[in-house]
């Protein structure tokens, strides 16, 4: 019971952290574009403004999908470790839980978007799923390498292995680190892989019929998803965190770096995304796996 409350606390902490970091990054993007950006708490104001608006609904599936999406994401966030010894359910943080529980959130959002009856929403969902097909396979190969090397698939133990026996996996498996970062950009939905939102092409894709509290909840879901994914990347490749200060520093650095790369790139088309991920990232991931598992060269 106490563990569940700790989990809810971690989910809430993740939401607050990510929303602040996202607001801070809007200022960073603004500065890159030679202007002042908004205040760092702008995203909070956006989300709460959305909660106070009265919007429309298209049926029970429209609402039910949003609730399932947010519920799934909060459920996943309860398992996320903050440092290597601060987590709600110790010993049960298996790597595959994160990847697949995020899929429940996506399925809920996809259901509700298609249930609105707008074809643009279904097109957006189709693009999101195709992008997921593209970036997951190289990411899973690198995760396979890491799990095989450390002999465990629990996130905290992988982080502890990086602090002791191996170097950080971004350095020990250099090709793997690059592939992992590219997959992270795909997961976060940042340019150049932002095909599923595409505001000018398909009128913001799945979010076309949302307004008011449903959109607010979807933004909450997006923030918590980003929190889970960045933490996953940190624990897999950058050695986790021993204390909260180190966690915060690494988190802000990873997200800001991804944001800076994304702010100078354009958007790819959807078949270009699939072809991109199945060419060089896949070759790099397979090469890295063969080198690490069979030949045994780990830096």
């Amino acid at each position: 019971m106490l563990n569940i409350l700790a989990g809810i606390g971690i989910a809430f902490f993740g939401f607050v952290l990510q929303t602040s970091v996202a607001g801070f990054n809007r200022k960073v993007t603004g500065r890159i574009q030679k202007r002042y950006g908004p205040v760092w708490y702008q995203e909070f104001r956006d989300i709460f403004k959305l909660f106070t608006k009265r919007s429309v609904t298209h049926g029970w599936i429209f609402d039910f999908g949003v609730i399932m999406a947010v519920g799934g994401i909060i459920g996943t966030a309860m398992f996320v470790p903050l440092t290597t010894h601060t987590l709600a359910f110790a010993g049960y943080d298996n790597f595959f839980i994160y990847v697949y529980l995020i899929a429940v959130g996506m399925l809920g959002m996809a259901m509700s978007a298609s249930g609105s009856g707008n074809p643009l929403a279904s097109i957006g969902v189709m693009r999101a799923l195709t992008t997921m097909l593209a970036y997951e396979v190289p990411f899973m190969i690198i995760a396979l390498t890491i799990i095989n090397l450390t002999g465990t698939s629990s996130l905290t133990e992988i982080a502890l292995a990086q602090q002791g026996q191996f170097n950080w996996f971004a350095i020990a498996l250099p090709l793997g680190g690059i592939v992992g970062f590219m997959s992270l950009m795909g997961m976060l939905g940042k340019k150049p892989f932002e095909t599923y939102i595409a505001p000018a092409e398909i009128a913001s894709g799945p979010m076309v019929e949302y307004g008011g509290k449903q959109l607010g909840m979807l933004l909450v879901m997006h923030e918590i998803t980003v929190f889970i994914e960045v933490t996953l990347f940190m624990f897999l490749f950058l050695g986790g965190a021993g204390s909260i200060i180190v966690f915060l520093i690494k988190y802000v650095l990873i997200y800001t770096f991804a944001n800076m790369i994304s702010s100078v790139n354009g958007r790819m088309k959807i078949d270009q995304v699939v072809l991109f991920f199945y060419k060089w990232p896949l070759i790099m991931a397979v090469t890295q796996a063969i080198i690490a598992i069979y030949i045994g060269w780990v830096i």
Binding site: I67, M78, G117, V137, V208, Y294
Partner: protein
């Protein structure tokens, strides 16, 4: 105390009774089917679980039965699916020309099932195997196309004859037809040949690459209430033969040290991986919902194969748990599509849309089934896929892992398409106001399957305990289970905790949702169209060519295997024509040709030899 032999005789008798009952009134035949199949399932499950099945035979000559955990496991799953799907028979009885024959052959199917899984003699196994293929062949031909049934029969005969050849090789080596001695004694090159033949037979029943041509054809054209059985239960026969071939025949070809697998096993794993990839890619293209689910069955058959070839206890447990999870979810998905097709008359996704507003229960059943098929927690598919992933990662097989992960994500893609195109989206005007929810009697098996799918996901220890028995029987170490947590070498999984976290999350989301201001309800056609006024629903429903950008990348390569088989059949045709030209002709020049050859052989025969 239930005797297997009496059960078989009872089923035969019930089949003949259903035939005659249907002649009196149309609906009595299906009723007899439902009652008989329920009785068989309950007796096998109850007595088998308590270990009280009687294997002696006194009435039927030449037939012997033996008990094995694998046989009992498969028999319980398959008879359960048969008995649940039989609830659909009364509603489709009026559509076919001779419903009495349908009920009779449905029950004869069960005869074959019980015989195959509980026998201990190879020839009896072959007899019941062929009996099952023969009766299900008639059932498939009740559907839309006769050619589909013939293609099914052809490919299954290939499997049957390979099995017969393997049986005779083992008889040669062991001297008897007994299953256990035969599998244990065979060794050396004999073992390699037996292994290959068993694999051909398993591939042809599972629908794995390269013997997969019949699967979408037969599934797509079978009658709507037989497809759940065909996909959920009959392909598991191939898994059973696979279990026998892969796990109990000891093959020793070249051992690949780097991954710790035998070369023969590695080739089977690669073929299984190719099955997964092909099934996924073809399923993404389909417009007919049943063909899509048929390709999905092919892909999941590949998962079972890959898991069983690995040979470790994780792999075996993952493969067998996948048999359970896929059987239930595939049967539930096919049942939902059959309910939709009964109400609307079509299963093509480009002609349907917005079914959720009239058939919400069918939608929920389909949703739970596809969550399990895509391998997402908290349903049963996640547990089995997790075991398979860990098994593949343990061995370090990279290329098989690429295919496994690709299939897992790709299954999310193709399984979402009927959801968005068929159930969600705009309501088409030709169905508005005319569609009702499926009748309660049809909803009953769908709801039971949904509850079971959730149960296998949240409390996996019931089935895993049983599977541990099979793992021990085959000769590997059992999986550690305690209090609902699965402990393996690489990690732990606590499925009930995942489900509990999900439930807590949903409660929090519901609270947030209810606190803030209420939304007003608008019609589906009142949507963002850049302020254009719209009045045709068909133009606003996105269902055709759903994954067009992805399909464009590979649509040039899809016909390779079909063209290969068509080429093979053309070559056989040409060979036959050559024979006919030389041996079965009444042309005088050929006769002269043979007379010359004969005279040359007689005159010069002594010198040439």
């Amino acid at each position: 105390m239930a005797s297997i032999e009496l059960l078989i005789l009872f089923t035969l008798f019930a089949g003949i009774l259903a035939f005659f009952a249907s002649m009196i009134r149309d609906i009595l035949g299906p009723v007899v089917t439902i009652l008989a199949s329920l009785f068989i399932f309950i007796s096998i499950a109850y007595f088998g679980y308590n270990g009280e099945l009687d294997m002696s035979t006194s009435i039927i000559p030449f037939v012997t039965f033996g008990f094995s955990y694998a046989g009992l496991f498969f028999a319980i799953i398959v008879t359960f699916i048969y008995s649940m799907v039989s609830f659909y028979n009364p509603f489709f009885a009026k559509k076919y020309k001779s419903p009495s024959v349908y009920s009779m052959f449905y029950l004869f199917n069960l005869v074959g099932i019980i015989g195959v899984f509980f026998t201990s003699n190879f020839l009896v196994l072959f007899f019941f195997f062929e009996f099952l293929v023969w009766t299900s062949f008639f059932l498939i031909s009740f559907g839309k196309s006769r050619k589909a049934a013939i293609s099914y029969f052809g490919f299954s005969s290939v499997g049957g004859f390979a099995l017969l050849y393997a049986i005779f090789i083992m008889h040669n080596a062991a001297g008897t037809f007994d299953i256990n001695t035969g599998l244990a004694v065979v060794s050396g090159t004999d073992a390699i040949l037996v292994f290959i033949l068993f694999m051909i037979s398993a591939f042809s029943k599972l629908g794995a690459f390269p013997l997969h041509i019949w699967l979408p054809f037969a599934h797509g054209n079978a009658p709507h209430h037989f497809s759940p059985v065909l996909s959920g239960a009959l392909v598991k026969l191939g898994a059973f033969v696979g279990v026998m071939g892969l796990l109990r025949v000891s093959v020793n070809t070249y051992q690949i040290d780097a991954i710790g697998l035998d070369l023969a096993h590695y080739i089977i794993a690669i073929l299984g991986a190719l099955t997964i990839v092909f099934g996924t890619l073809m399923a993404i293209r389909q417009d007919d919902a049943k063909k899509l689910l048929a390709y999905s069955s092919m892909s999941h058959g590949g998962y079972i194969l890959v898991a069983l070839t690995l040979g470790t206890s994780l792999g075996i447990a993952g493969g067998l748990y996948h048999v359970v999870a896929h059987g239930f979810s595939s049967a539930a998905a096919f049942l939902a599509i059959a309910a939709v097709s009964k109400q609307t008359g079509t299963t093509k996704m480009s002609e349907l849309g917005g079914m959720i507003h009239k058939m919400p229960v069918t939608y929920i059943v389909y949703l739970i089934a596809i969550i399990s098929m895509a391998g997402i927690p908290p349903m049963g598919g996640f547990v089995s896929k997790w075991l398979i992933f860990q098994a593949v990662i343990d061995q370090g097989l990279i290329f098989v892992a690429i295919a496994v992960f690709f299939g897992s994500i790709g299954s999310f893609l193709y399984v979402f398409r009927p959801l968005a195109a068929l159930f969600l989206g705009q309501e088409l005007p030709r169905y508005k106001g005319k569609i009702k929810e499926a009748p309660y009697f049809m909803m009953l098996p769908m709801v039971i399957f949904s509850v079971l799918i959730i149960y296998t996901g949240v409390f996996p220890e019931f089935f895993l305990d049983f599977i541990n028995n099979i793992v021990v029987e085959v000769g590997a170490a059992p999986i550690t289970l305690s209090n609902g947590v699965i402990y393996i070498l690489n990690g732990t999984l606590y499925p009930s905790l995942i489900a509990a976290a999900f439930a807590v999350g949903v409660v929090i989301a519901l609270i947030i949702f209810l606190v803030f201001p209420k939304s007003r309800k608008v019609d589906l056609m009142d949507t963002y169209t850049s302020a254009e006024f719209i009045y045709t629903e068909e133009l606003l429903h996105y269902s055709n060519n759903f994954y067009a950008p992805l399909e464009r990348l590979y649509e040039k390569y899809i016909n390779i295997m079909e063209n290969f088989y068509i080429g093979v059949s053309k070559k056989v045709n040409q060979l036959g024509r050559v024979f006919r030209y030389y041996f079965f002709t009444n042309k005088p020049e050929i006769t002269v040709f043979w007379i010359i050859i004969l005279m040359m052989a007689l005159l010069l025969g002594g010198d040439l030899l």
